[in-house]
């Protein structure tokens, strides 16, 4: 249809006005909203904490570009807790009582989060946390999890895993459970043993090692000797890699193997890690990329992580949980239309938030919602989701060695 000159000018004016309006909306104004948190920027936990730093920086930038929260710009007050929970506690007190930040945010890992939670509880601040591994320890009403483990992960996660295995080409009959005695790992491995027993799997080996163990040779040997169909490795950080190295040295490849919380990058590039299973709440593939904020975030993270020289610049559990936490807090503030912690908490408890991981709710025990952990596998040097079917892409299925 031919546009008349008048309507054309009108359209142009409308476009200009909306553009101007958009420009106005894109510049947040007023005193910044200060969000305070700590991260383990130095010390043994710093390897993973640096991912969280990058994610936070990305989110703050994006948010400020979009107009901030409640029209105000965001400012992140970040401190280094040096991987020490007692320092984390002190710093959170500083953030609340001296720096007087408006909102608190999560530190990295269970120990520090517990410290932060204690402080948050004393000052009635809401705390959205992203890497808390032991849901049963959450006793604070205004703490909200971004990592969707569900409130009973020791039960639900192994069930998901064994469902995946049962639907695979070679459902295992015998299982070896080897685990680190690290707090957030151990109870999960105990749960896995229970579930395995209930499902009629025979446990041919159970081993625990000291967190900090360097020599995995004997452990690898015992696994090989026990000849299990499936190995459940309760490993965190490097331990999975060390065990795989040790198994390679004795020329042993488990028929099927699972690693609970591996360090993201190193495992996927290891040739021996072929067909290793793990859990995830997000991967850089469909259908996850359709979730709120996913596509942009993935791109930005890749850029920043590469610039920061991280060996693996892809988004996985840590980065995804971190970004989700920001999304949750943002939704809470927007929903409550204020910075009042009680209002934010009340809103979150009664609403669903659309995040990277999909829609999340917070009305279960410890404010947990469903267990959203999916099973992923290293295939051709990439993490690929293989279970549940609804979350797979391109017809990916579970492979066996």
């Amino acid at each position: 249809m031919k546009k008349t000159p008048v309507s054309r000018r009108f359209t142009l004016l409308a476009a200009l006005l909306s553009f101007a309006g958009l420009a106005v909306a894109q510049a947040p104004s007023g005193p910044p909203i200060r969000i305070g948190s700590t991260l383990a920027l130095t010390g043994p936990l710093s390897a993973t904490a640096q991912v969280h730093k990058i994610v936070g920086e990305i989110y703050i930038e994006q948010a400020n570009k979009r107009g901030g929260w409640l029209g105000r710009p965001l400012e992140w007050v970040l401190k280094d807790d040096q991987s020490k929970p007692d320092l984390a506690r002190t710093l959170y007190e500083q953030l609340v009582t001296v720096d007087k930040v408006d909102l608190l945010f999560s530190p990295y890992a269970t120990g520090a989060i517990l410290s932060a939670m204690g402080v948050a509880q004393r000052y009635n601040k809401v705390l959205v946390h992203h890497t808390f591994g032991i849901p049963s320890l959450v006793k604070y009403d205004m703490a909200f999890p971004a990592w969707s483990l569900g409130s009973d992960p020791a039960n639900t996660v192994p069930n998901t895993l064994f469902d995946a295995l049962a639907a695979g080409p070679k459902p295992p009959k015998t299982i070896a459970v080897v685990t680190s005695k690290f707090p957030s790992i151990q109870f999960m491995s105990a749960g896995a043993r229970e579930v395995a027993k209930k499902r009629g799997l025979q446990e041919v080996l159970f081993l625990e090692w000291d967190f900090g163990n360097r020599d995995f040779g004997p452990i690898a040997n015992r696994i090989k000797d026990a000849k299990p169909d499936f190995v459940f490795v309760g490993a965190i950080g490097l331990e999975g890699n060390l065990l795989l190295d040790a198994m390679k040295k004795i020329d042993y490849v488990p028929p099927q193997h699972f690693y609970l919380y591996p360090s993201p990058g190193p495992l996927v590039t290891l040739p021996e890690a072929k067909n290793a299973l793990s859990v995830t709440i997000f991967e850089e593939q469909q259908p996850f990329l359709n979730n709120t904020g996913a596509a942009d975030f993935v791109k930005l993270f890749r850029e920043r992580a590469t610039a920061a020289k991280l060996p693996d610049p892809s988004v996985e559990v840590q980065a995804a949980a971190s970004y989700t936490a920001w999304q949750i807090l943002a939704a809470g503030v927007a929903g409550a239309k204020s910075l009042d912690d009680k209002a934010i908490a009340a809103w979150l408890k009664t609403n669903t938030v659309d995040t990277l991981q999909g829609p999340l709710r917070f009305n279960g025990p410890g404010n947990y919602g469903e267990d959203l952990m999916r099973i992923k596998q290293v295939q051709n040097g990439h993490w690929t989701v293989v279970w549940p079917k609804a979350f797979t892409a391109g017809g990916a299925t579970l492979q066996t060695n």
């Binding site: 130095t42 010390g43 043994p44 936990l45 710093s46 390897a47 904490a49 640096q50 991987s83 005695k181 159970f206 081993l207 625990e208 090692w209 000291d210 900090g212 163990n213 360097r214 020599d215 040779g217 004997p218 452990i219 040997n221 015992r222 000797d225 950080g237 490097l238 890699n241 060390l242 190295d245 040790a246 390679k248 040295k249 004795i250 020329d251 360090s263 990058g265 190193p266 590039t269 290891l270 920061a308 020289k309 991280l310 060996p311 693996d312």
Partner: protein, 288 residues
Amino acid sequence: MSGFTMPSATLLAQSILSGVFVGALYGLLGLGLSLSWGLLRLINLAHFAFAFLAAYLCYQMAQMGVDPLLSLGLIVPLFFAIGAGLHWGMMKFQITPFNSLLVTFGLTGIVEALIQTIWTADFRKLESSYGEHNFKVAGLYVPLPELITLGLAVSLSFVVWAVLRYTDLGKALRASAEDSAVAAAFGINEKRNALLLAGTCSALASIAGVCLALGFTLAPSQIYAWIGVVFAAVMLGGLGRALAPLIAGIVIGVSEAVTMAVTAPSWAPLVSFTLLIAILLFRPGRAA
């Protein structure tokens, strides 16, 4: 916790072998530490930082295509110079043994920060062709990187032992350690010998670092993971000795490995450290 399970002979043997390999690395790391503590009267915590720095350099060069063992050609002289330089500084300021602990602790923090700045805190693994080779001897697996580590540890320990025992330099070093004033009166050039020894200790640390890079995944915070057990090997063997750290390291490594083979691995530290305590309490009157 599982009780005792009788392992198969192969399992036991393989585990013992594994313990020998990791113990050899403890010994190699401990060699330089023992010499500098015993003969130079300096407790060098930075020894571990140097080992890791060397490991990272080896990794970096491997990324650029240099064979890890060839990289020793650059790394060893570099760390020799660093070690001698550090000792020159210590001598100039007349640092006492326990103060050297403080100074080297500070140095370790600096090196760790340096490593983290250049290579990030993330884990780095050196993938080399050596990792691909695995020999099978009498039904037991002998991976090449571990074999290299064992070989280097044993040969270096013997070389150092021979130097200390049979050469004039070695005797001079031992004399200076016992009574430096008297040794100097006999014409021993203590300063030059000390610099030589300090440089050698750091060079040994760097070789241990390359072995670390060949066999282990690296992270800056891992520096501290080795301190406890290597100090244990050094003190168990007695200071200022060449073969002792290796033997002590292997004893510790094997005792832990055997424990892990027959019972719950999480008890391993108990066995190795109790063994350590027992040996220290009952060994025939060797003065520290």
